[in-house]
């Protein structure tokens, strides 16, 4: 594998190669020094280029939080939605225009906590979405409150004596709900993460990637874990790659080994496939499948001024 093929466009001497894919008027971004979110964004842009999906077909949806800023920084069609509701917005986009590749980049607090209900139902329906969940183990933007992903004994603003709630094992959650692509990598595994995002973009069905990312300002500082660079070194030493490991055994314990890898990849009919099949069975020839406004032969496209 040539690593040069995994970073998309090559740079020139005067400009960073990813400047074309970023809203440079919003730079520098708000993410702290040594935060891993910028690295995730780099991996996403590289994967989107590598997947060869046309840029106008990619939509990025984000919720609220540090990671929720991602949609605002990417120069794709993007939505910054209400808290926890990134998946409902994305579902609507996908159903209205099935040709779009809808990606959700959001944090653990947004997707798993307040949006947990939407996450499990999108996974259950096998909606054709790509979800990139950046897990930094707390609610970083609001000051480091304990999240449903905070490992036991970790200190957060709302758990000054150590968290005692049992945290979510997110790959197990989405796998058991029916997700057809599940992977977990850390912000340090940029090449693997780029490959995973590319595979997820090209995968038909609900794809979920959990990215473990350092939070230097709140999580690492309160737990005295050093800077984000120290956490990156921790991921380097304590990540165990186990592809197709049982997601049940992928719990994250406080400062212990993290199982990473691609856990699930299977083919199952998506929500729209299942709907078309059932309608066809019931209605027969009367049923005309909806192909969306971007189909060149449909009447809708001809009346749509954008195309």
């Amino acid at each position: 594998m040539n690593p040069n093929q995994l970073l998309g466009k090559r740079g020139t001497a005067d400009a960073h190669p990813m400047e074309d894919f970023l809203r440079m008027d919003r730079m520098p971004h708000i993410w702290c020094s040594t935060c891993g979110l910028g690295t995730c964004l780099t991996a996403f842009i590289a994967a989107a280029q590598e997947s060869a999906i046309p840029r106008e077909d990619i939509v990025v949806v984000s919720g609220i939080g540090c990671t929720g800023r991602a949609a605002g920084y990417l120069k794709y069609d993007s939505f910054h939605t209400t808290h926890g509701r990134a998946i409902p917005y994305a579902t609507g986009l996908k159903v209205a225009n099935p040709r779009l590749k809808v990606c959700i980049i959001s944090g653990d607090g947004d997707l798993v906590s307040i949006g947990g209900n939407h996450l499990i139902h999108a996974a259950r329906r096998n909606m054709d979405l790509t979800v990139i969940c950046v897990n930094n183990f707390n609610y970083a933007m609001t000051g480091g409150q304990a999240a449903p992903t905070t490992p036991q004994t970790a200190i957060a603003t709302t758990t000054p004596y150590g968290a005692f709630e049992r945290p979510f094992n997110i790959p197990f959650l989405v796998d058991s709900c029916g997700a057809t692509y599940v992977a977990r990598w850390t912000a340090l595994h940029v090449r693997q993460l780029t490959i995973a995002i590319k595979e997820a973009l090209l995968h038909r069905g609900f794809s979920f990637i959990e990215v473990i990312s350092p939070c230097p300002t709140v999580y690492a500082r309160r737990n005295r874990l050093g800077t984000g660079l120290d956490l990156m070194k921790f991921y380097h030493d304590h990540s165990i790659t186990k592809n197709f490991a049982s997601t049940r055994e992928c719990d994250i314990k406080f400062q212990q080994d993290i199982v990473v890898g691609k856990f699930v990849q299977r083919e199952e009919p998506t929500y729209l496939d299942a709907m078309d099949a059932q309608m066809k069975k019931t209605l027969g020839a009367k049923f005309v499948p909806y192909v969306g406004p971007m189909d060149p032969n449909s009447e809708r496209t001809k009346s749509d001024a954008r195309t």
Partner: protein, 90 residues
Amino acid sequence: MKYWRKPLDSDRKKAPHGNVHVIFERCKGCGFCIAYCPRQVLEVSTEYNRKGYHPPVVAHPEKCVNCRLCEALCPEFAIWNTLDEVPSVE
């Protein structure tokens, strides 16, 4: 580049050589590129930038093999590589 033995295809293959570009004022000094450069090309600068961070400086430009790991790891889009057309001959 130092090898523990001479590679069998060394007469045909040459390690590529890259140029490292750093935007001094955009960097937030996280040090990922310096810590993870496989060839130790970068070092922490002694100067501060406008934000008060120490960006990396290209201390050993001749060592870069254009692996682009610094570019992939940089959260600030402040460092990138370009392939030098002339391969390093060693």
